[in-house]
């Protein structure tokens, strides 16, 4: 699985796009989607919610498990992906594109977000 070079990654397996007018797009990685199995339900934060880096802000439910979704950065939610709410399988079929989860106006970014290569090393062998 190749991780897009232009994105940055959290150790909780979220990806984050470069900020466009201060707004970044967030999703989960192909590695994470594959580990989860078929995603059947996503619970996302709502527009206007404030999220905090490293804190849970939603849930991803798959056949066998439920996992917390963490915010990779702090900020205000400006948009959620209604397509993925309606069809959670997009997380599996298109994790870096159609399966994006939410957009956030970034107010604070934690140390330690990974580059694509660093994330690939982080997940190697797991």
């Amino acid at each position: 699985m190749s991780n897009p070079q232009q994105l940055r990654y959290s150790k909780e397996h979220e990806w984050l796009s470069a900020a466009d007018d201060g707004v970044s797009t967030v999703g989960i990685t192909a590695h994470a989607a594959d580990a989860l199995g078929d995603v059947v339900f996503v619970q996302l934060p709502e527009n206007g919610d404030t999220v905090t880096a490293g804190e849970p802000c939603g849930e991803l439910e798959s056949t066998k498990s439920v996992s917390d979704l963490y915010a990779p950065v702090s900020g205000e939610i400006t948009e959620i992906n209604q397509d993925v709410v309606d069809d959670p399988a997009l997380v599996n079929s298109s994790p870096f594109e159609g399966g994006w989860l939410f957009k956030v106006r970034v107010t604070d970014e934690p140390e330690g977000l990974l580059t694509a290569d660093e994330y690939a090393s982080f997940t190697a062998g797991s």
Binding site: G37, F41, K64, V66
Partner: protein, 384 residues
């Protein structure tokens, strides 16, 4: 994200004779009762649908086989288990249970009578040692030998509406003459096998007990024979959703040492009318009491629940009254049902809420009370 509910882990799991095949197929493996088993090969939902509509191929070599032989093999099993196994015809199989002295379930089993004086007991992987120990202990005084045959067999299942057609192409056995819950010796791909018409998916299908040294050849022959019919390899993940839809209990979830067969709604498999051993069997007295209580005042009943929403109930979640939030039961298994397109669960609930159609039942899903419909099990029954 991070996992908050994952499978059991442990050191140094055992591998089956098909391990290299699974790895070549790119399976996601999981530790299951000390065995490294395929969880899924691709999408577990696609595997599930394949078994319901075409056919699926499973490696179940982690299951534990125990052979009981001798003139009193049937009498021993009548004493050790809740079923009346001495009455079983040669070539037939029975679903039964091993209970402890207080009537609690130690394991659920399938017993095949493979000869006049020979039975094969198939135990769940996690309980195989318990079953072996109990049968050995209970065999004292009986003219019967209990043999650990766990290493003697690999177990391959082919399940689904196309299963008979696929197997027919690679066996010399008369499948038309093989009834549901029966087994007979034959060959598959030229290798000796005990061919049983059993399974855990709710579909027609076969379980093939073969020598571990023949497992790869049998698997590959079935893969090739099944390709035109759309057969796919399937892992334990879809096996669980298939059995859940079919309303089949799973040890450790619906069945535990704290439940009797009557608590699990399976009292019919307890045979008080046994004629051997003067009707004595392990657990008889407490099971009689449990039978009486199930008639008059059952503690809780096993029911099906279907979600109105999309959040999935998991084992251990509380079933609550939507009216006042009081706890009225507990989920024992839950998953999104590919066939129904909705989350489903099996749960023990108070009798007042056990009638199908009972209003006001909810499941506490991490703090949110999600509405559920009470239904009779199973959720899915195949057309015959």
């Amino acid at each position: 994200m991070s996992e908050t509910d994952s499978g059991a882990t442990g050191g140094g799991p055992r591998t089956t004779a098909l391990d290299a095949v699974h790895r070549a197929l790119g399976a996601t493996m999981t530790d299951f009762a000390g065995w490294d088993m395929p969880l899924r090969y691709g999408s577990e939902r696609d595997e599930h649908v394949a078994v319901r509509t075409r056919a699926g191929l499973f490696d179940l070599s982690h299951m534990g086989e125990i052979t009981v032989t001798g003139q009193q093999a049937g009498e021993l099993l009548d004493y050790a288990l809740v079923g009346h196994l001495s009455r079983l015809s040669v070539g037939r199989a029975r679903y039964t249970m091993l209970c402890d002295a207080s009537g609690g379930i130690l394991d659920d089993l399938i017993v095949y009578r493979t000869g006049e004086d020979t039975y094969m007991v198939v135990a769940n992987a996690s309980n195989a040692q318990t079953v072996l120990d109990a049968l050995r202990e209970r065999s004292a005084g009986f003219g019967a030998e209990v043999r650990d045959d766990r290493d003697a067999y690999a177990l391959i299942a082919v399940q689904g509406p196309e299963a008979a057609g696929i197997l027919k192409g690679v066996t010399d056995a008369d499948l038309e003459g093989l009834k549901y819950y029966a087994g007979l010796p034959g060959t598959v791909a030229g290798r000796d096998a005990l061919i049983a018409r059993t399974g855990y998916t709710g579909e027609d299908g076969f379980e093939l007990f073969v020598s571990p040294s023949d497992a790869v050849a049998v698997w590959e022959a079935l893969t090739e024979a099944g390709a035109p019919a759309g057969l796919v390899p399937c892992g334990l993940s879809c096996r669980d959703t298939l059995r859940l839809e079919a309303g089949m209990p799973l040890y450790g979830h619906e069945l535990t040492t704290r439940t009797t067969p009557f608590d699990a709604g399976m009292g019919r498999i307890v045979k008080f009318e046994k004629t051997t051993n003067d009707g004595a069997f392990v657990g008889r007295e407490p099971l009689e009491a449990a039978a009486g209580q199930a008639e008059t005042s059952p503690p809780r009943k096993l029911v099906g629940l279907i979600a109105e929403g999309r959040r999935v109930p998991r084992a251990g979640y509380e079933v609550v009254s939507a009216a006042d939030g009081s706890v009225i039961g507990e989920v024992t298994s839950g998953a999104p049902s590919p066939t129904l397109g909705k989350p489903i669960a099996i749960a023990y609930v108070d009798p007042a809420f056990a009638e199908p159609g009972t209003e006001g039942v909810a499941v506490d899903i991490r703090g949110s009370h999600e509405p559920y419909e009470v239904v009779a099990l199973p959720f899915y029954k195949r057309q015959r």
